[in-house]
């Protein structure tokens, strides 16, 4: 029996595949600074402890020693001396200068462009994968020519407001972050927290470049609903919780026994369905703006009458992005409607479209 369990455990775990290459490097790349500290050998600790026991005076003296200052990456001070650039915007919709790429609702990988309008491919790219109504996470990729510290700061362009940044998912938010770019560190997820709704610029300062990305942000709304339930209950609960978006679309063609995890605020929601068999099949419906990977297969299905809708197949993952005609408190006037995302893993094409076509 135990051999069979061993085999099944191995197959269950192996079924998820190996970690993506560079996981360790990515994990280490996002680490905050540690205070500089010299490790003390064990015998020194023991000796010091003995001395402390013998002389209270030494204890007092040791506690009075100044603490080591936090390590400061070289060159950051110089980057901090640069001013935050004022990015020209036009109108109230957070549209940036036509020469620049607006990272909002572009449905494509955005490459930041230089002040002169010449694309600097390979410096820093920003991928929007954020949900404005619950929090904003942007993926930042440094190109192969970028090395050393990259200072990231942000500010509001169209009124008073501050922007705090954190390395997603768990570091404390700060007014500025330093990313250490190098061969092993090219990709970070940044969580953005705006103090007031508006148009914000994120500025990236490296040794040889300074670039800005512009995007609209809203303050984080407290999650009003966070629960696991069944699909029918989810439909009722989401409609009750979300008041800032209509229509609320959820799939009918989901098994009644699928685990349904719901998260919602007044402004939006995410519902994730998981196949109870443990096969790894999941379906997620969310009000979200996202742009899919460049390497994926794309097509424009004209879903629900949206000519800019996008269907992406990336390995076992299928993604459908579209804006649903309706009312959305945070609608982008240049691309009206409620931004929706349907993502499924482990489903066939036919199964995916059966679910997509059952959204109601």
């Amino acid at each position: 029996m135990s051999e069979r369990v061993r085999r099944e455990v191995r197959e269950l775990v192996d079924g998820f595949g190996p970690p993506r290459p560079g996981l360790a490097a990515r994990a280490v790349a996002g680490l905050p600074d540690r205070p500089a500290r010299r490790a003390v050998p064990r015998w020194t600790v023991a000796t010091a402890a003995a001395l402390v026991v013998l002389t209270g005076l030494l204890l007092w003296a040791a506690r009075s020693l100044p603490r080591a200052a936090p390590a400061e990456p070289a060159g950051v001070a110089a980057l901090e001396g640069r001013p935050l650039a004022s990015v020209p915007t036009s109108g109230p919709t957070c549209q940036v200068d036509a020469r620049r790429a607006n990272v909002v609702a572009a449905n494509a990988m955005v490459t930041l462009v230089s002040g002169s309008g010449v694309p600097l491919a390979g410096l820093v790219t920003v991928q929007t994968v954020y949900k404005p109504e619950v929090a904003s996470t942007v993926g930042v990729t440094a190109g192969p020519d970028v090395s050393g510290p990259v200072l990231v700061r942000g500010h509001r362009l169209d009124g008073p407001g501050t922007l705090a940044l954190a390395l997603a998912p768990a570091t404390p938010a700060r007014r500025e972050l330093t990313l250490g770019a190098g061969p092993a560190a090219r990709r970070w997820d940044l969580r953005l927290q705006a103090s007031a709704p508006g148009c914000y610029a994120i500025q990236f300062d490296g040794a040889r470049f300074s670039e800005q990305a512009v995007l609209p942000l809203w303050p984080h709304s407290p999650t009003s609903l966070q629960q696991t339930m069944d699909p029918a209950q989810a439909r009722v609960a989401v409609r009750a919780a979300v008041t800032g978006a209509r229509p609320i679309l959820l799939p009918d063609a989901i098994g009644a026994d699928w685990r349904t995890d719901v998260g919602a605020t007044a402004d939006g929601f995410t519902v994730r369905y998981t196949d109870p068999s443990g096969s790894g099949r999941t379906v997620t419906v969310a009000t979200a703006v996202a742009n899919p990977p460049q390497s994926a297969t794309r097509s424009g299905p004209g879903f629900h009458g949206d000519s800019r809708s996008l269907y992406v197949v990336n390995g076992a993952t299928r993604i459908l992005l579209w804006h649903q005609p309706g009312v959305y408190d945070h609608a982008d006037p240049s691309y009206p409607g409620v931004p929706y995302e349907l993502t499924a893993t482990g489903l066939s094409d036919a199964e995916f479209w059966q679910i997509a076509n059952s959204l109601a």
Binding site: V9, E11, A27, K131, R191
Partner: protein
């Protein structure tokens, strides 16, 4: 460079030393997280989160100890937290580029047992992954899970008995 040197340098803030320290632990941590969370993306997130915690908690690393159970403990604790508050992930966008899924093939034949495994409480699944996948002795499994070796042994026995009972029921039903 030996483990203790890597830890010393990491304590001094050297990220490259910490990366060398953590790199061989990432795959076991990822496998444990996959077994506990049953989701590849969440498992990778858990490993990244555990790496951050390991970096911040490096001061508490016991001198001369093996870093593997220490890191796996952090992964396991984080996975338990994720399971308790599953919807932490609502607070971030779905990143399509990182989305992935387990292959669906090769499920036939063992589906009943696989389902039973997937339905086990997360702590029991962690025990099975640590012992049967990562081949950790029960003493180390117990350390990772924060229980005694006797408790780990009896828990393993109970899980195997339950799985056997489940299989018997399935076979009787077919």
């Amino acid at each position: 460079m030996c483990t203790q040197e890597l830890i010393e340098r990491s304590l001094a803030g050297d990220r490259s030393a910490f990366e060398l320290l953590i790199e061989p632990l990432v795959e076991p941590g990822y496998r444990l997280a996959c077994g506990m969370l049953l989701d590849r993306d969440e498992a990778e997130d858990a490993v990244q989160e555990a790496t951050l915690k390991a970096w911040l908690k490096l001061d508490s690393f016991r001198w001369g100890a093996d870093p593997r159970p220490w890191f796996l403990t952090i992964v396991a604790n984080h996975c338990r937290d994720v399971r308790r508050s599953r919807w932490w992930s609502v607070l971030r966008g779905v990143d399509p580029q990182r989305a992935g899924a387990a292959p669906l093939e090769d499920l036939a034949g063992s589906l009943d047992l696989r389902r039973a495994l997937a339905r086990l409480p997360v702590q029991e699944r962690a025990l099975l992954v640590l012992h049967y996948y990562l081949d950790l002795p029960l003493e180390e499994v117990a350390r990772v899970l924060g229980i005694t070796q006797v408790a780990a042994k009896s828990r393993l026995y109970r899980v195997l008995r339950r799985l056997r009972g489940h299989l018997d029921m399935c076979e009787a039903g077919t």
